[in-house]
Point group: C2
Chain length 465, copies 2
Amino acid sequence: MVSHDDAAREARGERIAPAVSPLLTDLYQLNMMQAYLDRGMTAPAAFEFFVRKLPRQRGFLVAAGLEQVLGYLEGLRFGPAELEWLRSTRRFSDSFLAYLAGLRFDGDVDAMPEGRVFFANEPIVRITAPLPVAQLVETRILNLLHFQSLIASKAARIVLQAPGKTLVDFGLRRAHGAEAGLFAARAAFIAGFTGTATVAAAEAFGIPVFGTMAHSFIQAHDSETAAFKSFALSRPDNLVLLIDTYDTLEGARRVVALAPWLRQQGIALKGVRLDSGDLLALSRDVRRILDDGGLRDVTIFASGGIDETAVARMLEGGAPIDGFGVGTALTTSEDAPALDCAFKLQEYAGVARRKLSAGKATWPGRKQVFRQAGGEVMRGDVLTLADDAQPGERLIVGMMRGGRRLSQPEPLATIRARCAGDLARLPPGLRRLVPDTAYPVTVAPALDALAAEVDRAIASARSAP
Amino acid sequence: MVSHDDAAREARGERIAPAVSPLLTDLYQLNMMQAYLDRGMTAPAAFEFFVRKLPRQRGFLVAAGLEQVLGYLEGLRFGPAELEWLRSTRRFSDSFLAYLAGLRFDGDVDAMPEGRVFFANEPIVRITAPLPVAQLVETRILNLLHFQSLIASKAARIVLQAPGKTLVDFGLRRAHGAEAGLFAARAAFIAGFTGTATVAAAEAFGIPVFGTMAHSFIQAHDSETAAFKSFALSRPDNLVLLIDTYDTLEGARRVVALAPWLRQQGIALKGVRLDSGDLLALSRDVRRILDDGGLRDVTIFASGGIDETAVARMLEGGAPIDGFGVGTALTTSEDAPALDCAFKLQEYAGVARRKLSAGKATWPGRKQVFRQAGGEVMRGDVLTLADDAQPGERLIVGMMRGGRRLSQPEPLATIRARCAGDLARLPPGLRRLVPDTAYPVTVAPALDALAAEVDRAIASARSAP
C-alpha cells in the first residue's frame, strides 16, 4: 500500500498513512468533538471497553491488544497533511482545526494486563481523558482490543485441546489484511501457540517462526523425489517434507525410500506434513509406513482446515500427530468472527452515565473487577466500582497517567506466562470444547446502588419539560 | 503501531514497517526461494488466484483488491534493515541475501478488472514471474485478493436486498485491524455502498463519508433535548439525531417537540437514527410520530446488527427505513469470514502443472474465462486455456508487463460502475437472498485435454524409480 518514497513523505507529515493516522476513526467522532468544544464540554470522561455477551461456544475470553492501544495513544497527533485534508472537506471550523493541531493524549489508562482471562460485562480497558479526546480514540481502541482479544480467545480454545502439541499460526494468507495477520500471530502466541509462519510477525514481535515447503515446490520439479532431494540439500536443518501433493501414502513411502540417501548426505529428517484428506486416518497409515521403514523419530505435522474441533476429534481418535498448523479458523476466528463489544461513556465531569437502549444497557461509573480463587481454581469475579473494596485479586491496574506509561512494555513471554496461568486456573467446565459451566460474575451492592441512582436521574431529566 | 519518528526511520530503510515489508510472507516462501536458487530454478512460473468453492449462501463473488496487488508488486524490495534482520536469523546464505537485495518484481500480471462478478475455479489474477519471485509474493497476494473479494461479495448481497436505499459502512471498530477497516470501506463502495463512516478511507480512496452522533454524546449531556440542541447548533447541515439512547419513541416525540426551535434557528433536520430494539416495529411507530408531527421529509436511518437478511426482512415488512448503517456483518463477512481460495502454480518453464491432493485438485495451465450473455443476462462462462478462443467476452486482460502497469490505476467510480453492470446482468436466481440457481461454468475441451496430459505425465513420473 505504501512505497518507500511515500514513507518518507509520511515521515515529514506531507502524506497521510491511513492505517496509523488519527483519521482512522468514524466521522461522527470528529463531528461530536467539534460540538463538545463549541459547548465547552472538555471535562474528563471515562470510557470503558467490555464485551456484552460471549459468542456461543466461548466460555471465557483472553484480553489482548493493550500494548497497541498504549502505542496508539502515545503517537496520537494530527500532522499537516491531515489538518489540510480536514480543512479541504469544509466540515470543520478553524478553531476546531487549531485544537486538533495541538491535540495530544494526556489522559489515564487503567486496564487488565494482557493475557488475562475475562468475562462478559467486565471492563478490560478504561480511558480517562478530556471528553473530545476520549471520543476521538473510541474507534481505533475498539478496533485494536476487539481483534486481538477475539483471536487470543479462539487460540486459547485450540491450545486447551492440544496439550503438549506444537501449534503454529498459518493464517496470514486468509487473515483480513496485513495488520490482522500480524496481530493474529501475536494474539495466538499470547494464548500459547508455539509460533507463527509469518516472517514479519517474527521480526516485529520476536515470535518463533516455522516453515516447511509448499505444493508448488513439489509441482515445479519433475518428480516428488526430485523435489524432496532438492529441498533437503538446501535446508538440511529441521527438514520437514510435504507428502500430500499427489498421494499421501505414496509420499510417505517415497520418504522411507529416500531415508538412506538423506543419511548419506548427513541430513536428519525431522518430520512430514499432511495438508489434505482424512488427516486422522492418513496420520495412522503414515505413522505405520514411517515406523515400518525405521523412521520412528520422524514427526507428523498436520495442516488444512484445522480448528479446535478437528484437533479434539483427531487426538481423541488417537491420531499420531505431533503438531498442527492452524490457518483460517484461527486468524478469522471463523466460527465467531466478532465479539459483541463496546467502548462506552461511564462517567463525565464526575457524574456516572448509563445507556438504556434495548438490549444494550450498561453498568455506570468507573469499575473494578475482583477475582476470587479457591486453591488453584478461579471461583468467581465481582464487578464493582473502582473505589470499592472486595475480597480477591484486583484485576484492573494503572497503565498510563497523564499520557505517560507507568511501566515499560511487557515482554511477550510475560504476557504468555500470565495467560497460561489463567488458563490453568479455569474451572474444568470452561476448558471443554463445549463449555458446560457459566462462570459466576456478580455485581457488588455499590455498583447496583449507583445504577439505580443514575436511572433515577435519567427518569427525572426525562420528565422535565 | 508506528510513530512519526519510526516512519522517518522506515523511509530510510533503517526500520522495518511490518505491514508493508516483503517480510510479510510465510517463512516457507523464503526457504523455497533459496532452494530454487540453489538449483538454478529461475524460469518463469505462472500462478493463478481462484476460489475453489463458494461459501453457502453465495451464488457469485465480486473481484476486488487488484489495485493493491499491483501497488504491492511495484513497491516490492528488501531494504537494509530487512536484509540485516534476515542475516541475523542465520537461516539464509549470503548469495541468497545478495539476490534478495537486488530483487524487483519484473513479471506480468493478467487479471479480471476489479468489480467483475466471478465464480468457483475461475482465476481472477495470474502472476507470471521467475519462480522464486512468484513464490515470494504468494502470501500477500492471497491476503489482498481474498479480503477485498470477500467483502465486496458480501456487500453486493446487501446492495441487492436494498435497492434505492442509502447504505453506509459502519464497520471499522469491529474490522480485523486497520487495513481491514480501510479495505472493507473500499470493497463495499465497489459493490454499491453509498459510503463509509471511516474518515481515513474517505481520504485514502475518495469515498463519500457519513456520520451522525453516538450515544455517548447524548449521555454526556444532562438531557436528550439538551444534547439534540447542542449538536444541531454545531452541525446544522445534514442534521441526523440519534433517538434510541433512553427510549426510541420518546426520542421521536422529543424531536417533534424540538422542530419549531430548529426552524427558528434556520436548521433543517434531515433524519433520525435508530440503533437498537425491533427496528421494523420501531421504524413504523417513529414514522407515524414524525408524520403526525408534520415531519414527513425527515428520513429514518437504521443501524445495529444489520445484515442482508435483516434488510430483506425489514423491507419486505414494509419498514419505512431510508438507509442502513452496516457494521460487523459487512466488515467481517460474518456468516462466511473466509473464502476457500488458493494461489496455485499452473505452469513452470513452459510445462503445465497440477496439484492432485484430495479435494484440492487444480486445473493446469494459463487460463482464460469467456462469458456469454444473451440479451441483458449472463448465460454462462467457459473456462479454457489462455490461447484458446471461445465465443463471448474475454474476462482476463493484461494489467502489467515486465513489472510495469499497462494503464493508470482505475478510478473507483469506474470499478463501481462495472460491478453495478455485472450485478444487473446476474441471472435472477443468483440475485436472491438464498440463491436458487447454480451459474453454469463449463470447461472447454482444450483445458480438459491438457489436464489429462498432465495427469499422464505425473503418473509416468510416479512409476519412475
